[in-house]
């Protein structure tokens, strides 16, 4: 990791003091397992992002998880047709908490140029999105910037986000069931 300086710490001789939340956030942020849900040209840019030139694995993302059960970050890159919508929603529902969503490219964010009867006008109509990456398609640098923003969220938001009223309300709006976790 080597990034402990990022969090507020008290450094002493031979010890370092911080809160558990921050330590966990830091660990989570640097070990995010993404699930690439790539459907078209943005998927190609994402592949470049994963490749050795841009090397997403620098950020603890060495392993793409193609099982939603083991993934933390859903990366939706590309046009999602209305027929594919329920599939995407199912994939999101199968991911276990905590989970984040990165929407890559104009199509995933808003339907893009495909303002037509068969295309979903933005994935935020069926699942909540944490970070949007605009572009048609975005450069790998932009995707990495989106991932950095996801990292900021992971580091700084409450480790128990899923129990908060806002989160429950959000999920209710999307008609997504969440386990009734016991925070106490």
């Amino acid at each position: 990791m080597g990034k402990i300086d990022d969090v507020e710490v008290i450094n002493g001789e031979g010890y370092q003091l911080t809160t558990l939340d921050k330590a966990i956030g830091l660990a989570r942020a640097n070990s995010v397992w993404p699930l690439p849900f790539a459907t078209s040209c943005c998927g190609i840019e994402f592949m470049a992002t994963m490749g050795s030139a841009y090397d997403l694995s620098r950020f603890g993302m060495e392993r793409m998880s193609f099982s939603p059960r083991q993934a933390d970050l859903l990366i939706v890159a590309g046009t999602i047709s209305k027929k594919l919508g329920p599939v995407l929603k199912k994939v999101y529902e199968q991911m276990s908490e905590p989970k984040w969503v990165l929407s890559v490219g104009a199509c995933a964010c808003s339907g893009g140029i495909f303002d037509t009867y068969s295309v979903l006008q933005g994935i935020d109509r069926i699942i909540p999105v944490d970070v949007y990456v605009p572009g048609c398609p975005p450069r790998p640098e932009q995707i990495i910037d989106g991932v950095m923003n996801i990292h900021e969220l992971v580091k700084n938001e409450s480790n128990r986000r899923r129990y908060s009223d806002e989160y429950k309300h959000l999920m209710q709006n999307y008609n997504i069931e969440i386990e009734d976790g016991k925070a106490e």
Partner: protein
Amino acid sequence: MEKLNNEAILNLIQGAFPNDVLFHEEPYGLLTLEVTAAKGHEIIEWLKNHETLSVNYLTNIAAVHYPEDAGREFAVVYQLHSWKNLFRLRIKCYLPKENVSIASLVDIFPGANWMERESYDFFGVEFIGHPDMRRILNEDSMDYFPMRKEYALEDDTREDKDDRYFGRNNQ
């Protein structure tokens, strides 16, 4: 055997179905016939089983919508190919909007199955005798036929579109 030309093919078809070939033309050399919708199935079957013609391959089925053409709003277009004689031909059947239905070709060409489902999906053409007449590409819950010209191509659920940004301000 002498090579079949469009004229010879047309004569053979017109000889067998004198009253059903309503119109013919040859755009870009491709023999195109308009036949009565009721006889479309029979003619294509005859073409396939004909000893000399042997039109054994159905390249494509498509539908077209002509909303201003009263009484013949829908066309079903069959593109056929004879591998034996190396010629193609196109057969069109026109249908009125009150009864957009025509006999299915699945019993002649099993490959017609998905093509007919596609024409149904986008234009609402009913293929009578089709074993599985339902949508193929669009979501099952769709309640209209999107390629018909009375429906807008654009998605009507977008709220963020301001015509000023698209050069469509007519004020």
